[in-house]
């Protein structure tokens, strides 16, 4: 996880100085104590339509060519939501008043922690799917590519993430608590061969500070 934190802080495989390294370690420890990871998920049957996907039994529409492509080989998809809870947000606000370096590094640690929490959820589910000869595509979140961020609110309501994990959405479609993720993944057959996407597939390629060394 430390490697990821450093990448968010702008390091590109370079070694951090001693002070930064110690700070990152200490913030990783702190985030482990602060995070109250909660997650929820549902599987839905996909009903394909021209330019969008509908999910059976819901009012949710997944629009855009990117998500359509992402789920091209799936007839069922996973909707998931994960959050680290409010304590993390509060502590980051606190350090911004007292120790800004720590706020910055803790923020990066929280981002790494939420990614890891998402990976754990997906891994657990993948274990179950394995028995049925299935696996999951990578996660795809509202706001990626042309998959609109504006669906956050309905996304959260559909899987009842408000009630089950306390996730809320502002009118500007920002998730609260801040360190939260909603994502979609397609269920595919085990033998389906999908090359995992790289930075080169991303619309932000070339402008992004966080590229994984492919520049």
């Amino acid at each position: 996880m430390k490697q990821e934190v450093l990448r968010y802080l702008g390091y590109n495989n370079q070694l951090p100085d001693e002070k930064t390294s110690v700070l990152v370690d200490s913030c990783l420890e702190e985030i482990a104590g602060l995070a109250e990871v909660r997650s929820t998920h549902r599987f839905y049957e996909i009903k394909k339509a021209e330019g969008y996907l509908a999910l059976k039994g819901t009012n949710l529409i997944l629009a855009g060519t990117d998500i359509t492509r992402h789920l091209a080989h799936s007839s069922v998809c996973l909707l998931m939501a994960v959050t680290l809870g409010h304590k993390v947000d509060c502590k980051i606000r606190y350090y911004q008043k007292t120790d800004f370096s720590r706020a910055l590094v803790l923020d990066a640690c929280a981002t790494a922690a939420i990614e890891e929490a998402c990976n754990n959820v997906v891994q657990d589910l993948a274990q179950d799917l394995l028995k049925a000869g299935q696996k999951l595509t990578t996660r795809y979140s509202p706001g990626y590519g042309d998959f609109p961020l504006e669906i956050q609110s309905r996304f959260v309501e559909t899987i009842e993430a408000d009630r089950s994990i306390g996730l809320t959405v502002t009118s500007a479609s920002i998730l609260i608590p801040r360190k939260s993720v909603t994502a979609v993944a397609g269920v595919i057959d085990l033998d389906q061969d999908l090359t995992p996407p790289t930075c080169l597939d991303c619309r932000q390629y070339g402008q992004c500070h966080y590229s994984k060394g492919v520049e």
Binding site: Y11, H86, R93, S101, G166, S171, I174, I176, R178
Partner: protein
């Protein structure tokens, strides 16, 4: 039919069960809007109401859980339409079944969170609830049921709106998780203290879990709540089967738990998710013949924030430092609107051991009420410490109590008739605690007995207003030894009289005693020890004074409050091992190198040393700025990284604090290079990037007016005019908020085409910035400094 309040006094009341889960069973899609069905399929809603009525429900809850203006936006319906139809549906069902039942206006959470967690202001939340309440009253509902709240602040907004716009009974319940907290961290005693204080008719818990899992939570509420308790659990724990949520508790099991809880004193029972008319029917049958049960209550004594309760079961330290009297730096910060300084002052006190903070902002130069509101907001965004509102101005007190999230202390009321009449109703209305000063129209009486008489009067009058004894603290007033030496022991004597005779908690501002004498600390802590011996509960002191804190910790051991001396040992066990305090020797005496290495704790000493040899401006221009430039260049070349840049910036900032003092005292010219406004635009709450820019700009001596996050376009324009600023920096991180960035730029340019705007944020680039009318795009904080240099020099 009997009035609901009257009915509640002598009966166990049966509510209805779930609405949303019933609708889902009948085909409502996930993510659909249940409230629309009031208009689209009234017969469906009426059928559900009728089912509940036939099962024996006494209170029908309208299908209006999410009927607020924010949730209904884009639905094609207004709040008025939905509430009118929903109440009509309940009425129709009541008529059709020919059964008496109360109709409760159901109010759920808004769906967006309030500040500081989210972006809604308290007032906005209040207005949304106010609209619902007003319409419910118009349609003739019998009571108001606020439920499934997870944020105590939001619950407070709803209860206040209901109180101020109706005379109806108010029931309020919150949703707790297994860890005995709500999702936002609210504790059970905090909920009880605050809701009870606001005067709800009943409080309790609903949703989230089944009766089995909620039992310990319910038990805790029953043991402390002085108002009737309400309970609406789910039909067991939810589990998801084939994409649908399923609840497993049978009506009979559900009802058996209902009976068990009724026998323990629960007064209002119903069901939440997964329950249906069968659950209610079984409950009604099970409760036949069950009488209202008495329960033992140990009232909560203390104050709280949503996440933390400070019980007054032992001495608690009240931090006195947020008070402009005799504090030039704090006054200056308040006048300049630098609330960050005040917040840091709050943090320092809490870190030093203060458990409650006194907030006094009495300064003729500022709008005290407005500053008080902002101050409270800022403090509760980062600290969970209860506050003591220090003012005698009713307007300041009321605005503070509204804004404050938790149970506060009002400091103070006194024995004067005018004071009692103005302050006590506010204390009662907002459920605060209050400090009564033992003085009246004749001033401070000399004799202890006379002060006791005033204390008695205050306690009596407060009781008459309905304030409970536990919430009245008496201040017997510390006089100064320098001028009224013989009066000191009268204070202590009065304190003892009050403790013995009235049985209320006591407060004293301790430091007053030493005014005008040398070695004030010695007098303060000696007087403190004597007061603690006399029974003082809440010393108002400077917690940064280590010896005062030592005295309190020692007293807590000696008076058997710190049982087993646990806290004492924790605080001092390392004392012996510690060698005499050594000043950390700076390994470096090159200020530039210290800044580059980010040694922020070592920079003070060397800066002071340099000041003995150089004028401050030379240090700034010849050492600090070149060091910062060098760091910037290293960052540019990929040799240094963001954490190092920030550490350098913080180090330079510490140096500047010292240099600014020096500049002030030697009267040199202002070192400000010009003014910049910074804001994270409306809708957006990502402010770390903006704060980095602020730090760097300040390092280069630009005067920054930081408007914060989620800033309205009009506010940016107003502040730009007010401070005569040329350069405005805007930040936005989301595609959804860049629209507001454009709107802000347009508003600025319309006001004055000479305003220059720089923008930054993850979703922006050079071209995008041009398209929305910005003059400059800053890729990072370093760019922002270059732009400021270009525009302002």
């Amino acid at each position: 039919m009997m009035e609901f309040r009257e009915h509640l006094q002598t009966n166990i009341v049966i509510l209805d069960g779930g609405m949303g889960t019933m609708l889902q069973k009948l085909g409502l899609k996930a993510g659909g809007l249940p409230e629309a069905l009031n208009i689209e399929s009234p017969e469906l809603i009426q059928r559900i109401h009728s089912q509940y009525l036939k099962a024996g429900t006494e209170v029908l809850s309208t299908n209006t859980f999410g009927a607020n203006a924010l949730k209904l936006k884009g639905s094609g319906y207004t709040v008025e339409q939905i509430i009118a139809a929903a109440v009509e549906n309940a009425n129709q069902a009541r008529k059709a079944c020919n059964k008496p039942a109360y109709i409760a206006l159901n109010i759920g959470p808004i769906g967006e969170l309030l500040e500081p967690m989210g972006t809604l202001s308290f007032q906005e939340a209040y207005d949304l609830f106010k609209e619902q309440v007003t319409l419910g009253v118009k349609e003739g509902v019998d009571l108001i049921l606020i439920e499934t709240m997870t944020d105590l602040y939001e619950a407070k907004a709803a209860v206040l709106a209901a109180k101020e716009h109706s005379n109806l009974p108010i029931l309020c319940s919150m949703t707790f998780e297994k860890d005995r907290r709500t999702f936002t961290g609210c504790t059970i005693p905090s909920m009880v203290m605050v809701l009870q204080g606001l005067g709800v008719d009943a409080l309790g818990v609903n949703c989230s879990l089944g009766p089995v899992e909620l039992e310990p939570i319910l038990a805790e509420i029953l043991s402390v709540s002085q108002v009737p308790v309400l309970f609406q659990p789910n039909a067991g724990l939810p589990s998801v089967v084939n994409g649908e949520t399923v609840y497993n508790l049978s009506p009979q099991e559900f009802a058996r738990y209902g009976r068990k809880f009724a026998e323990k004193g629960v007064r209002i029972l119903g069901g939440c998710c997964g329950t249906n008319d069968e659950h209610i029917r079984a409950l009604v049958q099970e409760l036949q013949g069950v009488k209202v049960a008495a329960r033992e209550v140990s009232p909560l004594v203390g104050v709280c924030t949503p996440t933390k309760v400070v019980p007054l079961d032992r001495v608690r330290v009240v931090g006195e430092r947020i008070n402009p009297t005799g504090q030039d730096k704090l006054s200056q910060a308040l006048i300049q609107g630098d609330l960050d300084y005040v917040v840091r002052e709050a943090i320092e006190q809490v870190e030093a051991g203060a458990e409650i903070l006194d907030i006094n902002l009495d300064l003729p130069e500022i709008d005290v009420a407005e500053t008080m509101e902002r101050m409270i907001k800022e403090i509760q965004a980062v600290l969970d410490v209860p506050l003591q509102i220090d003012s005698t101005n009713p307007d300041v007190i009321e605005r503070a109590l509204r804004e404050y999230n938790g149970k506060a202390i009002v400091n103070s009321v006194n024995g004067e008739e005018a004071s009692l009449q103005k302050i006590l109703p506010l204390v009662k209305k907002y459920g605060a605690a209050v400090i009564g000063l033992t003085l009246d129209e004749q001033g401070i009486p000399e004799k202890a007995e006379e002060r006791y008489a005033i204390a008695k009067k205050i306690v009596q009058r407060a009781r008459d207003y309905g304030i409970s004894k536990e919430d009245i603290y008496i201040d017997c007033l510390t006089l100064t030894a320098a001028s009224q030496q013989e009066a000191i022991k009268e204070t202590l004597k009065a304190l003892e009289l009050v403790k013995d005779g009235l049985g209320v908690k006591t407060v004293l501002g301790v430091s007053n005693v030493s005014f005008g004498l040398p070695n004030r600390e010695l007098l303060n802590r000696t007087f403190l020890a004597a007061s603690l011996y006399a029974g003082l509960d809440l010393p108002i002191i400077n917690p940064l004074d280590q010896e005062m804190m030592d005295t309190i910790r020692a007293s807590s051991v000696l008076w058997n409050a710190d049982v087993g001396a646990r806290d004492f040992v924790a605080a001092y066990e390392d004392t012996q091992a510690e060698c005499p305090r050594q000043r950390k020797e700076t390994s470096q005496d090159d200020l530039g190198e210290i800044i580059l290495r980010g040694l922020k704790d070592e920079v003070g000493l060397i800066t002071k040393k340099l000041l003995t040899l150089n004028p401050p401006l030379v240090i700034v221009n010849e050492i600090i700025v070149p060091a910062l430039d060098e760091m910037g260049a290293r960052y540019e070349r990929g040799e240094a990284f963001l954490p190092q840049v920030i550490r350098s910036a913080e180090t330079a900032k510490n140096a500047f604090e010292i240099l600014k003092e020096a500049l002030k005292s030697d009267g040199s010219a202002d070192i400000s290079k010009g003014k910049v406004i910074l804001a994270t635009v409306k809708g957006d709450i990502h402010d770390i990037g903006k704060n980095i820019v602020r730090m760097l700009l300040e390092n280069y001596n630009y005067e920054v007016f930081d408007l914060g996050k989620d800033v309205d376009p009009q506010t940016v324009v107003e502040e730009a005019i007010k401070h005569q600023v040329k350069l405005i920096g805007l930040s936005a991180l989301m595609t959804t908020t860049v629209g507001y960035m454009e709107e802000t730029i347009t508003a600025l340019k319309e006001e004055n085409p000479k305003f220059e705007v720089m923008v930054g944020g993850a979703v922006l680039n050079e071209e995008y910035a041009k398209n929305i009318g910005a003059d400059y795009f800053g890729r990072d904080a370093k760019d922002a400094v270059s732009i400021a240099r270009k525009v302002l020099g």
